[in-house]
């Protein structure tokens, strides 16, 4: 049985922890709202982009002149995995779920005899992958100083990925991120960006193309990659804050429970001490 004093300090320290987790939860809630707004604002661009690209791609995707970004470079040997995680911890299972998905995929590819390269975005994923896959690391993008994810960040990553593809250093590029569904549910997602995949783009109205369809598609595909990465970054940002918010909410609730339990224990032992003293006095008096 801990002493009364020990219990008292314990209660005080848990109360402090609760204050911190509560504050973090509120900060995460505010950041989540901003992240969601950013994701919302980026949606029209991404949607239009995909719509136009898929209608172009279905038109010329099957021909031999199709750009490499669309059709692939005919090989399927070297896979580049872009693993997007957060810079900070204390966000529940957010990073672990992405890393787990990436790990499964990497193991699968390695078992199939493919070469795996890993580009990490965000420090936490790198730390988790270091033990098993550090030999596969080809680069790291540090997002530590980035306050608000901008398109420029996505462009930077896209440039790196495209350069690697063009130089023949990788054949297939997949990005891993958490898709934001709600505060309590984020879905780890693997998205193949090169070669680009489009789901049955409906060939809509006939357009005049200026310059040619091929030229437009060749111009758009690198932008498409950047857009997909940008969307992923934003979704990831919203997911991170959502995950942190629910993790901190849980922590706050747990701290509350713990305080209750400790307070009961504290009161009980205080009462026990009083009772003990009384018994001592009474039995002392009776002995006289």
């Amino acid at each position: 049985m801990p002493s009364l004093k020990a219990l008292k300090t314990r209660i005080a320290s848990v109360k402090n922890t609760r204050k911190i987790t509560k504050a973090m939860q509120m900060v995460a809630a505010a950041k989540l709202r901003r992240a969601q707004e950013a994701a919302e604002a980026a949606r029209p661009y991404a949607e239009r982009m995909t719509a136009v690209m898929s209608s172009l791609a279905t038109g010329i995707g099957q021909t031999e002149s199709a750009p490499k970004l669309l059709a692939g470079n005919g090989k399927n040997q070297v896979h580049l995995l872009v693993v997007m995680t957060s810079e900070r911890g204390l966000c529940g299972g957010f990073n672990s779920t992405i890393v787990r998905l990436a790990r499964v995929k990497a193991a699968e590819l390695l078992a199939a005899g493919k070469t795996v390269k890993i580009l990490t975005v965000g420090k936490k994923g790198r730390e988790q992958l270091r033990r098993d896959y550090s030999a596969h690391f080809v680069g790291h993008v540090d997002m530590g100083d980035v306050k608000r994810v901008g398109y420029a960040n996505a462009q930077g990553i896209a440039r790196e990925v495209l350069a690697a593809f063009e130089a023949g250093e990788c054949d297939v590029v997949t990005i891993f991120y958490n898709r934001f569904q709600s505060v309590i549910s984020q879905i780890p997602t693997a998205l193949q960006v090169i070669p680009a995949k489009f789901e049955g783009g409906a060939a809509n109205a006939l357009y005049d193309y200026e310059p040619s369809e091929e030229a437009i598609l060749a111009d758009l595909l690198p932008r498409g990659v950047a857009t997909q990465i940008f969307t992923a970054l934003l979704e990831n940002g919203a997911s991170e804050q959502g995950a942190r918010m629910s993790a901190m909410d849980n922590a706050t609730r747990n701290a509350g429970d713990m305080i209750n339990k400790l307070t009961i224990q504290y009161n009980r032992s205080r009462q026990a001490a009083i009772t003990k003293e009384l018994i001592e006095i009474i039995s002392g008096a009776e002995a006289l």
Partner: protein, 130 residues
């Protein structure tokens, strides 16, 4: 005034404009074009330049770089990698754009197109006259 078209200007980060416009002047890669109601459906890539929108409440100009415009009979949507209203544009921002383009031109294997982008930007710079 002729009928109007629904005009949308979106950049990756936000939607800059969504108005009913009577005409939209677009800096296309193959030359400038003006889209009005009933224009033939067209998709064109953009060159760095100035996009003008004429609507009921006046003309607005935006500096756009990279991206494409999709014109249909009833609407024009411009997806620009970067888009800034001309009145919010500063000389420093333009310089940054030109510097970016020069940097890209230095590593771009396709010398012609890279030089063209820089030239386009410089022309635009002169046109905005800051």
């Amino acid at each position: 005034m002729a009928g109007s078209v629904q005009f949308d200007l979106v950049s990756p980060e936000r939607r800059l404009a969504s108005v009913q416009a009577s005409e939209v002047q677009i800096p296309g890669a193959m030359g400038d074009l003006t889209a009005m109601e009933g224009h033939a459906p067209t998709i064109t890539t953009l060159r760095p330049g100035i996009l003008r929108v004429v609507s009921a409440d006046g003309t607005r100009a935006y500096v756009v770089t990279g991206g494409f415009a999709e014109i249909s009979a009833t609407g024009v949507s411009v997806l620009a990698e970067r888009a800034v209203p001309v009145d919010e544009l500063t000389s420093a921002a333009l310089d940054a754009l030109v510097a970016d383009a020069c940097e890209a031109a230095a590593v771009n294997p396709d010398k012609d197109s890279a030089d063209k982008a820089v030239a386009d930007l410089n022309a635009m710079r002169a046109a905005v006259a800051l």
